[in-house]
Amino acid sequence: MVLSSLLLVPLLGILAILAAPRHAERLIQRLATLATALTLGLSLGLLAKFDPQLASLQFVERLSWIPPLGVFYHLGVDGLSLPMVVLTTLLSFLACLASWGIPERKKEYFILYLLLELGMVGTFLALDLFLFYVFWEVVLVPMYFLIGIWGGGRREYSAFKFFVYTLAGSLAMLLGILALYVQTHTFDMIQLAAAGPALDPGLQKLLFFAFFLGFAIKVPVFPFHTWLPDAHVDAPTPISVLLAGVLLKMGGYGFFRISYPLFPEGAQWFAGCLATLGMINIVYGAFVAMAQTDFKKLVAYSSVSHMGFVLLGLASLTPEGMNGAMLQMFNHGIITGGMFLLVGVLYDRAHTRELSAFGGLGARVPVYAGLLTFFSLASLGLPGLSGFVSEFLSLIGTFGVWRWQTVVSVLGIVVSAAYMLTVLQRVLLGPLNDKWTQLSDANLRELVTLVPLLLIILGVGLWPLSVLQWQDPSLRALIQHVLAPR
């Protein structure tokens, strides 16, 4: 029941907010914060009870849901999903705090927000393909509204683009699910992981590709990434945090949970392509990020670059590479979530995100400057901070397998150092623009959202085993499963 409670709490939150009067805005945001805090607490409790030695699924719940179709309400966590669940609940809580500044229609906002959390957590818990698809799609609808109603800029366009792109990917995945069901007559991922490898290799490749389309758009893999800058930039700050922090991980997680275990032949067949695509993501994303003048857009493109390391590590099929990929998902969620919060802090005060409009803020807002420096260094992969560990693992894991892709990818790190340092220089150094002499420093609520992320970055950077120990047994079992001779 502990996993169901992770879904039940946001659901109860939604019902409570529905019952609250529209004008009781403080009550509504407290209810939402309470719900996300409780969910976070429950997921941390899960972390305490989880046995990291086991590679198998734990806390499994299985109830018949649609008997005529053989669909089960089937939940469970292992080392692949646990870090994602904790990441989701943590970022949901912090972004909920950051949502207090939402100016209007708070009731609708927080209902949709909790529905989003429900969908995200459910996606990472589901062990039934049908249930997985339902949660996967449930995420789309609130996200559309959250960007479209509370966003900025061309929010309608961006929200719609996000919806259409991801739905198109989901529909490809739906075809894959149907074809798989026709072959095996089950939606159970555990049974499918046993039956899938026995499928005809040609069919496996086809199915792998169908699921790849669904996941690739979410990650996003070049050339399916064009929805990302629009959606990330036009979304309100807390939603950008969740988009970059959690939604992209749903795509990466799909590879670990579905594509690799179910279609090992397909995975091996596609690995070369995946490594090359990862390389393109890393280098292309970094160069495009460098060309940006809008701070938020720069962070958005840096996400494309960083998610490339996930693909690269996945393609390696080595313990180092896969661990690096999985850890990179977690780290990217924390670091980029923090970066979007920082962009939001600046935008709330200055109402612009043009990098050229700033300068010399380092002396004016020292706390903010410190935080920005810290997160930027984490993002560019400074040793001692978390981003370095996962990128390094991903690179050394892949080096022996896909050599030239790895070599080219390293170039991406150099470029990311260049654009991140340029940001610091343009925003914090140089002469102070007269417009910003009255700028106030980060307030308490903003610090509360940023400091936990900072501690995690430092903690994982200094003691990577703290996260790696959870995922390593499951990942090794997965690699063994994929590479098992047939």
């Binding site: 649609i66 799609e137 609808v141 479209g148 929010r155 919806f163 529909l171 075809l175």
Partner: protein
């Protein structure tokens, strides 16, 4: 022998009898009073008839399957399912009619009476076991529908009714010609008789047989708005009152599909020759409907093209001709009944208040009527096939049946169309939530509309989340239906 058999047949047809009497009562009740009281009396008679018919339908459930009225109709699980669907359509549309401002108050009795006649026709269509019965029931539905469209008596409605009548008469004629060819070749009119006679037909008449089947398909294609016989749909929907358009978008489509299934079954070996053409038309129907819907500005025209698109999805199940496909059709029809009528009920509420049928009328609806906007969003998302709503389940099964029958390209076409369809469904949602309202004030829908929207919303969400028993029932119906 004749009298007991007739009594037995009448007992099976008790629901149809009750509805027919109700139709007369509704039309006769109206002139006994003036003004609003007339409408109330007609509505009272209608509700009494509907409730009694539902009760009777429940009672006759246990009666043995087989042919009744000397073989004119057949009683089986398939017919039973479609009788319930027809009753559901009529009941929900009655809720809309009594509160629509499109329907002039002086004519409520006639509207309700004609609607009940349509109900009888729909039920008869689903049970027809004889070419004559099939033709008569189609005509009953058609003639009542022409009158329903024409009752508004403004220029647009008259034009729509005339168009509908001309197209409809042509389609009936074509179908009748096909039927006469069949009769000429075999001397049989009953479907089981035809089935037997066609087996012994020699090869020389294969061409005539194919022509006859094509002509019959054309006639039914008109009823279900299948390309290339869909042209009347947007014009008629635009001219008709919203509740009548709602009825047309679900009732005849469901009954037409039932009749198509019966023909496909009875004319089985010869019908297979139509397979490739039917599959191509399936793809054309869904593509044309969805693509043209994208550019519509009038909400009734938009929903008309959306109907064509939805019929295209349904035809997948007919093209594959498997038990799974049959089950998928049933599930999708149930879903379609609730989500489409729910959407139409919301449109009725908005058009009542704004007297405007353009998409602009929906601007900012989420602020003026939060519950209505939320439910319309549910219906539209269900039509677009977003889980966990009931429409998704139907689509899931339909596409699944195509893959199971190794017609992957039908599933791919359906998937591509779903992505296109998202555009225009979400466009309405965008109007409601993302744009500021044009008019001030709260929009309060009349209670019958709220009831209709509530029932449809509950079914769309509830059955989407817990479809177990519905699926079991429909699977049993599909298994009991011979292909």
């Amino acid at each position: 022998m004749v009298v007991p058999a007739l009594l037995e047949s009448l007992r099976v047809w008790l629901p149809e009898l009750v509805l027919s009497l109700g139709a007369m009562a509704a039309m006769l009740a109206a002139p006994t009073a003036v003004g609003a009281a007339a409408g109330r009396r007609a509505a009272l008679a209608t509700w009494a008839a509907l409730l009694l018919a539902a009760d009777a339908l429940w009672q006759v459930q246990g009666l043995p399957s087989g042919a009744y009225f000397s073989g004119l109709i057949t009683v089986d699980a398939l017919g039973h399912l479609f009788r319930w669907l027809a009753l559901g359509v009529i009941a929900l549309v009655v809720l809309m009619v009594v509160s629509s401002s499109d329907v002039s108050r002086g004519w409520v009795g006639e509207y309700l009476g004609l609607l009940l006649c349509v109900g009888v026709g729909l039920m008869a269509m689903a049970q027809a076991n004889h070419l004559l019965m099939a033709y008569l029931s189609i005509e009953l539905v058609s003639l009542s529908s022409y009158a329903l469209v024409a009752l508004v008596r403004d220029a647009r409605s008259s034009e729509a009714a005339l168009k509908y009548l001309l197209f409809g008469a042509l389609a009936s004629g074509v179908m009748l010609f096909g039927m006469s060819l069949l009769y000429g070749m075999t001397g049989e009119l009953s479907l089981p008789g035809l089935q037997g006679a066609l087996r012994t037909l020699d090869a020389s008449s294969a061409g005539a047989l194919a022509l006859a089947l094509t002509l019959i398909l054309a006639g039914l294609a008109f009823k279900i708005s299948m390309v290339p016989f869909h042209m009347w749909t947007p014009d008629v929907y635009e001219g008709a009152p919203v509740p009548v358009a709602a009825m047309l978008s679900v009732g005849p489509k469901a009954a037409g599909l039932a009749l198509l299934l019966r023909f496909a079954q009875a004319l089985s070996p010869a019908w297979e020759a139509l397979g490739p053409m039917l599959a191509v038309l399936t793809v054309l129907t869904m593509t044309l409907g969805n693509v043209v819907a994208v550019v519509q500005q009038n909400v009734k025209r938009l929903l008309a093209y959306s109907t064509i698109g939805q019929v295209g999805y349904l035809l997948i199940g007919l093209s594959v001709r498997t038990t799974v496909g049959l089950e998928a059709i049933f599930v999708y029809l149930v879903a379609y009944l609730f989500m489409n009528l729910g959407a139409f009920a919301c449109v009725t509420a908005v058009c009542n208040e704004s007297r405007d049928e353009s998409l602009d009328a929906f601007r900012g609806l989420s602020r003026r009527a939060p519950a209505l906007a939320a439910l319309l969003t549910v219906f539209l998302l269900s039509l677009a096939g977003i889980p966990p709503l009931l429409g998704f389940l139907g689509k899931f099964l339909l596409f699944g049946s195509a893959i199971e029958a190794s017609r992957v390209w039908l599933a791919v076409a359906g998937v591509v169309n779903s992505a296109i369809a998202l555009y225009y469904y979400v466009n309405i949602i965008r109007q409601m939530y993302l744009l500021a309202p044009e008019r001030a004030g709260v929009l309060q829908a009349a209670w019958p509309l709220r009831l209709a929207v509530g029932v449809c919303g509950l079914a769309t969400v509830g059955l989407g989340l817990f479809p177990g028993s519905l699926l079991e029932w429909l699977r049993a119906v599909a298994a009991a239906t011979r292909l």
